[in-house]
Amino acid sequence: MIDITATLRRGWQQLIAHIDFPLLVITLAIMAFGLATVFSATYDGNQRVLSQAGNMGVALVIMWFVSRLPPQKLMSFAIPLYLLGLILLVAVFLFGIKINGAKRWLPLGFTRIQPSEIMKIAMPLMLAWYFQKYEATLSYKHFIVAGLLLIIPFGMIAKQPDLGTALLVGGAGFFVIFFAGLPWKVIFGLGAAAAGAAPFLWNMLHDYQRKRILTLIDPTTDPLGSGYHIIQSTIAIGSGGAFGKGYLNGTQTHLEFIPERHTDFIFAVYSEEWGLLGNALLVFLYTLLIGRGMIIASAAPTLFSRLLASAITLGFFTYAFINMGMVSGILPVVGVPLPFMSYGGTALVTLFLGVGILMSIHTHRMLVKK
């Protein structure tokens, strides 16, 4: 009996050896809100809630699996994953199917995949690997190469067009370069150049993207068109008030005024029902998540793990900030889900790949030092 218990305990400890509990608890908490909100936002006999719970299970298993991989192993995935992503992006460009005017999907017979999703992980992984490789001889040249590694997939995704994903991929890559020590004067120089090129970039945007930016400035100019999302979601948030209308009592939600209410606009549903108090709690949870990620990054032993951990952590921030910003009407509407909240398996898997990587980095730091 004692032996069995001991064996079981050892087995359990083995099982959870690479789990970072603060990260797990925080993400589980956010996901609990997410599930509850998906339940409120949908009326399909729990179908989506159950499906999302299933997605979470899969994502957690992936997280668990990834967390057990040592960072060296992760490094070995960098080039293959990046190349796979790039090839698939080209394939999308050539053979992709158009849905709602955007060529983002690649048909694989039994299913279809969105290769840009791979890049969300492949991009920071690749760049972190690259800087690690040239750590000793780092020079401007390497920053230029890193910039190219970043800009090519970014451009291809933006061209699909999928501005949301492009921003997330570009952001993840930029964070790596930033933490790798891109000189401030270059950062400011790039900032100034971007500001100078704004009119040119404006011309590069698709009509619907421009419209979304214009709509942001004054949503009422197009209340039945692209301004509709923003108007309805700000009404939902504003009418929620300080303490919310109560769970399952959001009228904006239940009268179907909020579009995409279980996916990209789930925050409007949550905010209407839970109010400012709920929003503060959610933002607090994201802050904890990011804080934990930063601690992990700070404690990471190698340049690769530092860069990867910080890029993934700030990736979570980018997701959360862009999503809540667009739903509350301070950022243009781009297709970015709210991390750990929005319905959707792909995003969840990508996110937990990131969480798994963070756990791996953190739980393997001592091993590396030894």
């Binding site: 750590e135 000793a136 001889t137 780092l138 020079s139 401007y140 964070f175 930033f178 933490f179 020590g181 509709y228 309805q232 700000t234 009404i235 939902a236 948030i237 504003g238 009418s239 929620g240 008030g241 300080a242 009228t251 904006q252 009268l255 179907e256 005024f257 909020i258 579009p259 905010s271 109010g275 400012l276 929003n279 503060a280 933002v283 994201y286 802050t287 990011i290 804080g291 930063m294 990054a297 700070s298 340049l303 530092r306 910080s310 700030l314 921030f317 900030f321 809540m324 910003g325 509350s328 009407g329 301070i330």
Partner: protein
């Protein structure tokens, strides 16, 4: 590039940048919280209201329009429910394709498409517009089976206005049609916009327009929860509409119908009034039209035919046609002379068959004249010379002063059309009138010679049939005048209370009874031994009348001028009458355009109307033009 590969400073720089990122994160999240605070605390009330507005949609429920019945309860305008197939264009991306597809299921004619397009051009924002009206049950079933194919297209039950008697009394009833911009302005003027939400028809003329706000009723509302797609989820509250008030007319539909038939294909008008109340018993303008054509939106072909037909069926001659009164003016002239002391009944003139004024000779109809003529004879035999002289003695302004009291030259205020402007004023000539009518100074002067022909109802003066009927009614009713009106009472839909329309007289001329008696006796004489005798031969009641003929060439309207053919050059026939002579209950004026002598075509119609109204039956051999009357009665 030294600082790129110094391990210690690498860590420091990384941690510094991480710290910088942490501050950025906190600032960004702070910004979000600030935004939430702005929306959820400071602007909360605003968004709360917006959300409430979002949640509840007020769907107007259009009330049933009031029913119009005649004095005996015969329905003249009612509503019936029918299925229509309606398209909401804002919900159908490709209208043409949708209608083509629809045409494979339901019969859709090119005229349906045309009407749909026309209505769509006029329609407000996101209304649903009928593509087919009056679906049969089979068509409804056929569409219902395939409705999944046609989003944005649905079958609706709508109430339609119907005028069961068709052409009968259409000039009195008017019709309803789709609300246009002009109607909208009217609604806004009277601040009824709220009550017209959901209403798409409105009275266009006649009673339908005058009593629009009685007939319309109060629009009800249903508060429904809706989703962003506009689909109703559930009803929260229903405020039922209040039906429009019903109108009961003084008009006798049967009398009206018989009179219209009596006109046949002759153009003209008749107004019959109960002189003791001003209630209109019949108001005919011939030709008529079928108001049912307008309810659904009239087709361009029908509209063109009605509008461009030479007989102008859309013109309400009874209130908009101004005609010289001809000899029907003589009893009023005689009454004026008595009242003003210009003549006594027995005073006689010698009629040589003409009257010289200056170097112009005014001829009498009868060659050689009527000899010695007193007032009685002047009316019975319609002696022109008597009235040339009288007019000359009275002067134009005295004539105008008296006639104005009878309501000539002013709008009667009959309850037709939106307001008084829909009725013509006619022309009551006077010095003042001429000054205002003409611009050049030499035209503004009234010449005494112009007064002469006014005496026999020719010259400048022109009155509407309703004015003549009213003037006749005033004489019949001993000088007490009522406003002519078609609605007897309005039945309030809510309370059932009956509101009578104006029982009070609007004017008492204080005519001397002996003077009225002189005129009455003379007009009775007309129907007994004068120009009306033939038409009223064998009547079971005593009636008073006067025939008249108006010369077409003196008509102010242009329609009979240049391209005139023979028939259109014939004079207009007129007849005024009241009965029973001692206690009149009906007074009327008849006009038959190009009818020749009044005795020939107008008087027989009057006889029919009176027989039917007083005796409930038609005279034997009625409604035929009395051709043989021409020779006998050429003296009017």
């Amino acid at each position: 590039m030294g600082d790129f590969h110094n391990p210690d400073s690498d860590i420091d720089r990384f941690r510094f940048r991480l710290g910088f990122a942490a501050v950025t994160v906190l600032l960004a999240f702070g910004l979000l919280i600030g935004r939430f605070f702005w929306l959820q605390v400071i602007q909360h009330d605003f968004y709360q209201t917006r959300a409430e507005d979002n949640r509840i949609a007020l769907i107007p429920i259009v009330p049933n329009r009031g029913v119009i019945t005649d004095r005996n309860g015969i329905v003249l305008a009612r509503n019936y429910s029918a299925f229509t197939l309606e398209i909401t264009p804002s919900r159908v991306p490709d209208l043409e394709a949708a209608i083509d597809a629809l045409a494979t299921v339901i019969d859709i004619q090119p005229k349906d498409r045309k009407r749909f397009k026309r209505v769509m051009d006029e329609a407000k924002n996101f209304e649903s517009i009928p593509i087919r009206t009056r679906l049969t049950d089979a068509e409804v079933a056929k569409f219902a089976a395939q409705r999944y194919r046609f989003p944005g297209i649905e079958v609706k039950a709508r109430l339609f206005r119907q005028y069961p008697l068709g052409n009968v009394a259409s000039h009195a009833l008017g019709y309803i049609g789709r609300i246009t911009d002009r109607d909208l302005k009217w609604i806004e003027e009277v601040e009824k916009q709220a009550n017209y939400k959901g209403t798409d028809h409105i009275g266009k003329n006649g009673l339908e327009q005058r009593y629009e706000f009685e007939l319309h009723g109060e629009t009800g509302y249903e508060e429904v929860e809706i989703d962003a797609g506009g689909r109703a989820l559930r009803s929260l509250k229903r405020i039922p509409p209040v039906s429009g008030n019903n109108l009961t007319l003084t008009l006798d539909a049967k009398l009206q119908e018989i009179t219209e038939q009596a006109f046949g294909d002759r153009k003209g008008a008749l107004v019959a009034i109960d002189p003791t109340t001003g209630g209109i018993l019949a108001l005919v303008s011939n030709p008529t039209y079928d108001p049912n054509l307008f309810v659904d939106g009239i087709t361009p072909d029908n509209w063109k035919e009605l509008n461009e037909h030479p007989s102008k069926p859309m013109v309400n001659r009874a209130i908009n046609g101004a005609y010289p009164p001809g000899s029907t003016f003589k009893p009023f002239m005689a009454l004026a002379a008595l009242e003003m002391g210009k003549r006594t009944p027995n005073q006689t003139i010698s009629d040589p068959g003409y009257f010289n004024f200056g170097n112009h000779q005014f001829r009498d109809d009868k060659k050689g004249g009527h000899g010695s003529v007193d007032m009685y004879k002047s009316i019975v035999h319609s002696c022109d010379t008597y009235y040339y002289m009288l007019a000359n003695d009275m002067g134009i302004d005295n004539i105008a002063k008296f006639m104005a009291q009878l309501g000539l030259g002013e709008r009667t205020g009959v309850d037709l059309g939106r307001d008084g402007a829909s009725e013509s004023k006619g022309i009551l000539p006077s010095q003042e009138w001429k000054r205002q009518r003409f611009k050049k100074p030499e035209q503004q002067k009234w010449y005494a010679g112009e007064t002469i022909s006014i005496g026999i109802g020719q010259g400048y003066n022109a009155y509407t049939p309703i004015q003549l009927a009213q003037a006749t009614a005033v004489v019949a009713n001993n000088g007490v005048m009522f406003r002519p009106h078609i609605v007897g009472h309005i039945t309030d839909a809510k309370t059932g209370e009956k509101r009578p329309v104006e029982p009070q007289p609007i004017r008492d001329l204080h005519l001397k009874p002996q003077n009225i008696e002189v005129i009455r006796r003379a007009m009775v004489g007309v129907n007994k031994e004068g120009t009306g005798a033939r038409a009223f031969a064998g009547a079971a009641y005593e009636s008073a009348g006067k025939t008249g003929t108006a010369q077409v060439y003196s008509l102010k309207g242009a329609e009979y001028k240049a391209h005139s053919v023979k028939k259109e050059l014939r004079d207009h026939a007129l007849f005024i009458a009241y009965a029973p002579a001692d206690k009149p209950t009906i007074a009327l004026a008849v006009l038959v355009e190009n009818g020749g002598f009044g005795a020939q075509s107008a008087a027989p119609i009057a006889r029919m109307v009176m027989d039917y109204y007083l005796l409930g039956k038609l005279p034997a051999g009625a409604a035929k033009e009395d051709d043989t009357a021409v020779e006998d009665d050429n003296e009017e």
